[in-house]
């Protein structure tokens, strides 16, 4: 009898899990862009209307500026970003042998700054770091997301996946409950997107400014009344690894505009 019960419970759990299991099939994935109004799309598509381009221009001038004890500019090593930075944003976070962990684009820029330029680290969400990130990410526009998932990355990808499916916060919600199970429906007046990080750093009309993926993730965490992770914390970077894997093959549209 006990065995039958166990089997029944097992079946119920399995059915419930498959009803909820909502990994979105590859063909049904949609960028946040597809959920936006015509006006907001037009704003993103026109480089002279897209406010994210203000940061890209700023990043372009920072790219050529010599800084730090080494007195080197990004351009002194990497040359013209339009060639050398092509596809870089599409494959980050990437494994960094020095730290033995994946690093995201912002961290990669700061590693370069500290190690090669011997300049102080740029602050998270600061104007300069956002500008440089936006400039680098802009060079990957139109390219498919193709992060490398190898033996070294697997553990971090799994950790990120676990975070995505773990309920947390006072509302006891997992990322997946909105972005896998209920995308396309509405949360108050807003359409719930699938949560693919195709356009970061991006200009959010709500922020009236440019922000990173981690800033956006913090928004979601505060919304579920969970304690947000630290900027650059391993939990966030692992989650970024998973989100980029989840969005593999989708097109980068940074700097995007979102409501």
């Amino acid at each position: 009898m006990r065995l039958v019960w166990a089997a029944l419970v097992g079946i119920v759990v399995a059915v419930a899990a498959s009803a909820m299991a909502g990994e979105i099939p590859l063909g049904e994935r949609r960028s946040g862009y597809d959920f936006m109004s015509r006006e907001t799309r037009a704003m993103q598509d026109d480089d002279t209307a897209n406010p994210g381009m203000l940061w890209v221009l700023e990043g372009e001038s920072l790219w050529g500026r010599k800084v730090g004890v080494a007195g080197r500019a990004c351009a002194d090593c990497h040359g013209d970003a339009r060639g050398s930075m092509k596809g870089v944003a599409a494959r980050h976070p990437a494994f960094d042998a020095g730290t033995g962990r994946p690093v995201n684009l912002e961290q990669r820029i700061n590693l370069c700054r500290v190690d090669r330029q011997q300049a102080p680290r740029l602050a998270w969400e600061g104007r300069d770091l956002l500008a440089l990130t936006a400039y680098v990410a802009r060079q990957s526009r139109g390219m498919p997301i193709n992060g490398v998932v190898d033996q070294r990355m697997q553990a971090f990808l799994d950790a990120g996946r676990a975070t995505f499916y773990r309920r947390q916060g006072q509302l006891n919600l997992a990322c997946s409950q909105c972005h896998d199970d209920h995308w396309g429906r509405r949360l108050a007046g807003n359409v719930i997107p699938q949560g693919h990080p195709t356009g970061y750093p991006l200009y959010r009309l709500e922020w009236q400014g440019l922000g990173s993926l981690q800033r956006r993730l913090r928004n979601c965490m505060v919304g579920t009344r969970a304690e947000p992770y630290e900027y650059g914390g391993p939990e966030f970077v692992d989650l970024e690894v998973f989100l980029m894997w989840r969005a593999r093959g989708m097109t980068i549209d940074s700097p995007a505009v979102r409501p």
Partner: protein, 106 residues
């Protein structure tokens, strides 16, 4: 940082209505907000935008605290002659930025 993006058609026919787009980087702080400790944040906005076409004013706008950061203004004028369009934004804290764009009218 004061950066502006301007989109003016490089060429136009005489008498043609041309669309001009301008986007400028500015915080547009309303003056109605307070910090976490309750101290008021001083107003810092662009007050005025003026566009001149070969010295003649063709468009002027007054900006107010309810306008979002990084104001984006789109307007039109009639292409009359080749020359320069000059754009000037002025505002609080002696903010002043001037940009220009050339147009060839045939």
């Amino acid at each position: 940082m004061a950066r502006a993006l301007i989109n003016v058609p490089a060429q136009a026919k005489r008498g043609e209505i041309i669309e001009i787009k301008t986007l400028i980087s500015h915080v547009m702080e309303t003056g109605h907000r307070r910090t976490e400790t309750g101290a008021p944040i001083a107003r810092d906005i662009i007050r005025q935008f003026v566009c001149t076409y070969n010295g003649a004013e063709v468009f002027r706008a007054e900006l107010h605290p309810a306008i979002a950061a990084n104001p984006f203004l789109v307007f039109s004028t009639v292409a009359t002659e080749s020359g320069t369009l000059t754009f000037t934004w002025t505002g609080d804290n002696a903010f002043s930025v001037t940009e220009s764009a050339a147009i060839t009218v045939s």
